[in-house]
């Protein structure tokens, strides 16, 4: 469960403070698939980063899995993030000199779980990347890169996956595929919070929250309109 109360995030600019998030109040239930939709600059990434315990809000509180994450020490927050939150980015953010298995297993290094490489290979098999296990990111297609990033996010069996424009660089087939894998995670009981400026993900969502100028503008609950068909 993720609960945001009166969250404000301001960036200090040359021409004064810029408010990226204005008084956000949000409650996301465990096991929910939430799409945060909005144009570029609306505050989607800032919102995800604050939920991910990576960006301290200017004011307000954020509770994830009943922990007020910004009351934790930096070390506790890093551990919490490693154990509870998986991240998927638009630009994949794979380490270029590591191969696919190593990139996925990188997440296992911090959570202190043994058998990271074995688990990474199993995940890669499930995501159809077994034959790419020892390739470098530069040798992968965009879809394969994103599936690698999903495998990395899934490695520590997180409770929540935060996905920031995960399909922004993908063709329609790969978009459907990636959203499908996120939906699978959701169906297995995980929480997905996905930020996008497109509409493709809405069909998988339990709820769509619209973000405009750092403020939420959402109907209380949007029923899923369409089931996955990938």
């Amino acid at each position: 469960m993720v609960v945001l109360e009166n969250v404000v995030k301001s960036y200090r600019g040359r021409q004064g403070d810029v408010k990226a998030l204005s008084d956000i109040n949000l409650r996301i239930e465990r096991g929910e698939f939430v799409v945060i939709c909005g144009p570029s600059g609306s505050g989607k990434t800032t919102l995800l980063m604050t939920i991910a315990a990576m960006l301290r809000p200017t004011s307000g509180s954020i509770c994830v899995e009943e922990h007020d994450i910004y009351k934790m020490s930096i070390r506790e927050r890093a551990k919490f993030r490693a154990e509870n939150i998986g991240f998927v980015f638009q630009m994949f953010h794979l380490v270029p000199y590591l191969n696919v298995v190593e990139n996925v297993a990188l997440a296992g290094g911090i959570a202190g779980r043994n058998g990271g490489a074995v688990k990474a290979k199993e995940l890669l098999r499930q995501l159809g990347l077994a034959q790419r296990a020892f390739h470098k990111p530069s040798e992968l297609s965009a879809g394969e890169k994103q599936r690698t990033a999903i495998a990395r996010a899934l490695l520590n069996r997180p409770k929540i996956i935060l996905a920031d424009e995960p399909t922004g660089n993908l063709d329609p087939d790969n978009t459907t595929s990636v959203l499908g894998y996120l939906s699978d995670f959701h169906h297995s009981g995980g929480t997905v919070i996905l930020a996008t400026h497109g509409t493709e993900a809405e069909q998988f969502a339990d709820r769509v929250i619209y973000l405009r100028n750092g403020q939420t503008d959402s109907p209380p609950r949007t029923p899923r309109t369409q089931r996955r068909n990938y």
């Binding site: 990434t45 800032t46 980063m49 991910a52 990576m54 960006l55 930096i74 070390r75 890093a78 551990k79 919490f80 993030r81 490693a82 154990e83 939150i85 991240f87 980015f89 630009m91 953010h93 794979l94 380490v95 990188l106 997440a107 290094g109 911090i110 959570a111 990395r152």
Partner: protein
């Protein structure tokens, strides 16, 4: 002594065993004693100086690696002018008064009496001159590392007067001063150059580490997003610096030693025997270099830790 000064060496001989007396004295500030027999002879129509040198000896408790090259019996080192005039080359066989010798090497031009000198093992020269068991000088090669302001002659005369009052001691001053000046020069140069080199190398390591941190900004962001803490990231960069330091120390030591062993004897002919691997420096390098690289990589590592993953990942 006037004959000595005229000839450049003593024409009188003494028993070779005298060196045992010098070599057995304790508490005297000399090392590297060399029993020497020299004579002017006419050879192949040229007046030459024939010099026989015994292996170096050190007093008890002052054993050091030999400073000069050791001459094996049956070989000869030919001075530049003689080699040029008589067309002698390395490996050629020569005969001096019935004694056959192989040319071990020909020496580079010295601009002095050494250019008409043939250096052989003491035994060979004793045979050639028919002076078995005789020598006419004991050289104490200066390795006392006195400062230019010290006078080794005064110090040694005082020390020897108590135990060997009959010994005549002279200093081959130009050579000794040249060596002392060289040592002083090296010391002065090192005193200035070394701190500059150390700071420059450190700054260079720091710059490379900062460039490395900047290049890996995205990676740092990913690691922070995955939950890596500041300690792990600091360790990543300092660990890399330490590994580079260790590798650099090992590679530097072995490369330097290989170069010194290959080219050193050719450049420093007099002290060729002293050139050998000094493994104690490997140990010191393996300790000092990682500490050095870690110290100069500390600031870049701290910069890496302060990167805001949210900013880094958003910018990519």
């Amino acid at each position: 002594m006037s004959k000595f000064w005229m000839a450049g060496f003593s024409e009188h001989t003494m028993p070779e065993k005298y060196i045992d007396i010098f070599a057995s004295q304790k508490g005297i500030s000399y090392n590297h004693l060399v029993a020497t027999l020299q004579a002017k002879i006419l050879w192949q129509g040229v007046e030459i100086i024939l010099t026989g040198l015994a292996p170096e000896r050190c007093p008890p408790g002052r054993e050091k690696p030999p400073m000069s090259f050791e001459i094996t019996q049956g070989t000869a080192y030919i001075g530049y002018e003689l080699a040029r005039r008589l067309k002698l080359k390395k490996g050629k066989t020569i005969e001096i008064r019935g004694k056959t010798l192989t040319v071990a090497d020909t020496l580079s031009e010295s601009g002095g009496v050494d250019d008409i000198r043939i250096q052989c093992h003491l035994r060979d020269v004793q045979d050639i001159l028919n002076l078995k068991g005789q020598i006419n000088e004991i050289k104490a090669i200066d390795c006392l590392c006195f400062l230019l302001t010290d006078d080794p002659l005064v110090i040694l005369r005082e020390e020897l007067a108590a135990v060997l009052p009959e010994a005549k001691m002279i200093q081959m001053k130009p050579m000794a001063i040249a060596r002392a000046e060289t040592r002083q020069l090296v010391r002065n140069v090192f005193a200035v150059i070394m701190p500059i080199v150390v700071v420059a190398c450190g700054a260079w390591i720091g710059v490379l580490a900062i460039m490395n941190v900047r290049d890996r900004q995205q990676e740092i962001g990913i690691m922070r997003a995955l939950g890596y803490g500041s300690g792990r990231i600091t360790l990543l960069f300092l660990g890399k610096a330490v590994i580079i330091g260790l590798l650099g120390a090992a590679v530097g030591f072995f490369t330097g030693t290989a170069l010194a062993l290959n080219f050193g004897p050719g450049i420093f002919k007099v002290t060729a025997k002293a050139i050998k691997p000094e493994y104690v420096w490997l140990v010191w390098s393996l300790i000092a270099a990682p500490v050095f690289t870690a110290v100069f990589s500390f600031i870049p590592a701290m910069i890496a830790v302060t990167y805001d993953p949210a900013v880094t990942l958003r910018e990519e």
